[in-house]
Point group: C2
């Protein structure tokens, strides 16, 4: 039962070490290169994807009373794939039935299954890239990275964290208490890791694997059966994942139903039924703050791990590389049409302008610099498509079209239908429009009295409405130090003076804790200790030593 | 600011190591000996206690708008001590005001304060013993151990766990990402420990220090101001603790109001106001399941750590040391008149009797053996008082008096008023009377069809109603193995074949996790990682490396 564990143990130990030191590390290459993934991996991945279209997706032995699935690629065609579907109660019962064997399997058997599944998922990253691309609207390069190796990083991080924590304390001990001149009392003690129950992973439309893998793998590693509930528009990436996990489970002699797929149809979602079932003890959720509130109010039998709505801010206080600032920020605004949870929305600029290496820049000149950098980034249509991808959801197009009236247009959004470049609007700091999330390729350049006011406003907004990222460009080290204090106190990660190929949107596995849990944008941090500890308990038996 | 940390660092590191290996270890001697605590420590402790009686208890600089306190020793006299009292809002405001400085102090400064306070509390263990004795009714020896060194163990355990976890990941890192032939991207990253907010510790009547120290010290170590809310009948032990902590805080240049005392009067409790204040983010609570349910329903802004109502079971399936079994169990039943959260209540015995080293014993013979062992233990009146102590609460006497009719009396309770030895009742397994907590010196010998049925019933009861301990006496190793599986799955710690001077009631710091969190008797385990991780968050700032 520990053959898989032994096989992948070097990777596990390296991951656990990387978690502690938090430098750059990954075992999963992010470059979609034939040299790494195999000479024909790209073509084979595409062919594998196409072979799945327009037919039933088979998952051996999965509960099935219906077939559901109506995914439409944001790039055009319907996928035409149907998936095995079953009632919430049947899925819960199947998970419950798998629970004792999964718990009894022990730590190394479960960790081994998780690691082997990750190795297989990594090898199929080109197939996964196509699946993610055509369910999320991400351009291919991003779908490969975020849907494949970067998601696998997050999964491995969770597995390594779970392993480190489950083995943190001795599994057995000899407890010998002196009794003065009498013989000591000697007990043998043994501790068992006891999983807490069925786990539910509620996926999102935009990052079906990246945002769900941490929870799925953390729960499975700690012995909890996982019901994977994909967004109805982005089923395939998680269906592929579930199929791989079930296959490895069976090969390891464990019940396939330790991982289940919960497919539903838009308008007939089964999420609430699953989330409130008394058997469900853990819920990982990525999505709106409104549904997060619903879960908090109703799914009170479960421990919740969430990533929710937030408003990410940028403060531009000064720069000794104005062109680099504009280019860097332009990419962050344009990438995947602003649909990343890490994308900036509010850009605070002093009304009186800033100092730069190009001399003083007025508010409008700063805004114009950003707008021009976006234009330059997207000037080549092919490159533009590779950056923007597509809007995952038609509602985002409607929101974008309605947003033009919210401020003074600094840059028009271009593109039609699912293709949309950033809309840039100037608004006053007192205007409440910038005080809430406006999801999609919409950004506000917000005038504030001075840079410190911008820092205060951004930090306050993070504290009140949540934020996953914050960015600052500044040359005044004293003010940078004040900003650090303000954003740390507001519980939001801060990036300072980024330029070149590192962007505020980026959150690296094994180094960046994604979401802090310290503001309303989420309760879970990927992956800290608190992400794994509630998923199991320790129970002891002790007796006099033999 | 780190002088205190440096001074106590060897103890801290030894504690952290003990937590991992979980063998016997403690820096705080449990023997109330003049050789350890000073030749005149006993007399000085008593004199210190007596000097506190019948006057106002002063806490320098503490918020105070009234004086409250009406403690009555279960051994007789009124304490006559009044304590500074303030409205909940004033206490919250004081804690909030202390919050930034406590957070800014950093890890080592806070840990140093906690360790220095523990050293001082240890030195005053004889005073604390008298304070605990006369607020809880514990006999002196127990009050010394449980109120002093054993409580200090639990505090140190929490401090060491908090320290280990706050320093688990690198506080800063150089993140260097290769870029093929181009220069690597190099970021410097810094992580800050950010405390979550005001913490509330709700104490209990029976173990004011032991049950509250873990939460108080875990929250303080992780940077959260702590409002200590004692049970109105057991204020003095926590008032002494708060006074020591505030003195050390001030000496370390930190705000005294990082630790506050919230005194109230019976019938005018301020617990609910404090618990539901939006500023309160952490609550440690020991008490009834009913109030635990209230907190879960109403204090939803806070993370709850609880120890609650449970029903502890014993299964007697067989023994090769029947006399030792009876003597061991008798002590567990009699100690502090069954008022320990770890005391057994239900003793499952096969209706057809068991095999022992003394030959077969019928159900009645087993019961008689236990009853006789209790009689023998308590035959000497002085020793009986030293074992039983006093009933902390008059309601326990009323419950005891009413309990006689619940079953066939196997052993009468002796003693009057606050002095009470165990009442032993025979009941049938089908009788629902043994299905709920009956707090105090009341135990049921429950007839079951066979030992496996007893194991199943005890495990089921733990799962449904909660349990903190379980004990089994058996000689059949196959059945012992089955029992281990049953109790592990029910989430309750199991002690097997105890004899001599180790009792099911005992839970040792640094080795036994007290309460599993895996059944309704509590959500927190003393002290696992999950006990400290929700008390702080990590927030990062990053920038290109210089």
């Amino acid at each position: 039962m520990t053959e898989l564990f032994d096989r992948h143990r070097p990777m596990l130990e390296a991951a656990a070490s990387a978690l502690r030191t938090r430098g750059y590390w990954t075992p999963f290459a992010e470059v979609p290169s034939g040299k790494i993934y195999g000479e024909h991996a790209r073509e084979e991945g595409l062919a594998s994807y196409e072979s799945l279209l327009n037919k039933p997706f088979e998952i051996a032995g999965h509960p099935e009373t219906a077939r559901l699935g109506a995914e439409l690629s944001p790039f055009g065609p319907a996928l035409g794939i149907t998936y095995p579907a079953a009632a919430p109660g049947a899925l819960i019962a199947a998970g419950e039935a798998a629970r004792p064997a999964l718990a009894a399997a022990g730590i190394e058997a479960r960790i081994g299954v998780c690691l082997e599944a990750l190795a297989r998922l990594n090898a199929m990253s080109f197939l996964m890239a196509n699946a993610v691309m055509h369910t999320t609207g991400q351009a291919f390069a991003m779908a490969f990275q975020a849907g494949g190796p970067h998601a696998q990083d997050r999964a491995l991080e969770a597995v390594a964290m779970a392993w480190a924590e489950m083995t943190r304390f001795a599994a057995e001990a000899r407890w010998e208490k002196p009794q003065g001149k009498a013989a000591p009392i000697v007990l043998e003690k043994h501790w068992r890791v006891v999983p807490v129950g069925v786990s539910l992973a509620i996926g999102c439309n935009t990052f079906p694997t990246w945002n769900s893998y941490s929870g799925i793998f953390a729960s499975l590693a700690t012995g909890n059966p996982v019901i994977v509930k994909p967004h109805p528009a982005a089923i395939l990436p998680l269906a592929l994942t579930v199929r791989v996990l079930r296959a490895v489970l069976v090969e390891a002699g464990l019940p396939a139903d330790a991982v289940l797929l919960a497919v539903d149809a838009p308008g007939a979602e089964i999420t609430k039924d699953l989330a409130t079932d008394p058997a469900v003890k853990l819920i990982d959720y990525t999505g709106s703050g409104a549904f997060g509130d619903w879960l908090r109010a109703h799914a009170r039998q479960a421990q919740l791990f969430t990533e929710e709505t937030g408003v990410n801010s940028v403060v531009i206080a000064g720069s000794d590389d104005f062109a680099g600032l504009c280019a860097n920020l332009a990419f962050s605004l344009a990438l995947y049409s602003g649909q990343m949870c890490t994308a900036p929305q509010n850009i605070y600029v002093p009304a009186g302008g800033i100092e730069t290496d190009q001399g003083p820049k007025s508010f409008d000149e700063v805004a114009a610099g950003i707008a021009a950098a976006i234009d330059a980034l997207l000037a080549d249509p092919a490159r533009a498509e590779g950056v923007l991808g597509r809007l995952a959801n038609p509602a985002t197009r409607a929101r974008l079209d309605a947003a033009r009236g919210l401020g003074r247009v600094l840059r028009e959004s271009s593109g039609e239908g699912r293709l949309a470049s950033p809309l840039l609007l100037a608004v006053d700091g007192e205007d409440p429009v910038s005080g809430a999330e406006c999801f999609g390729p919409i950004a506000f350049v917000v005038s504030v009295p001075d840079a410190d006011a911008g820092i205060a406003r951004a930090a306050d907004l993070a504290r009140e409405k949540g934020a996953i990222t914050a960015a600052l460009w500044d040359t005044d080290e004293a003010r940078i130090a004040r900003a650090i204090e303000a954003f740390m106190a507001a519980g939001v990660n801060l990036s300072i003076n980024l330029s070149g190929a590192i962007f505020v949107n980026q959150s690296a596995g094994f180094s960046d804790f994604h979401v802090t849990g310290a503001n309303p944008a989420g309760t879970a941090s990927l992956t800290d200790t608190a992400f794994v500890t509630p998923r199991f308990r320790r129970v002891m038996w002790r007796r006099p030593a033999a």
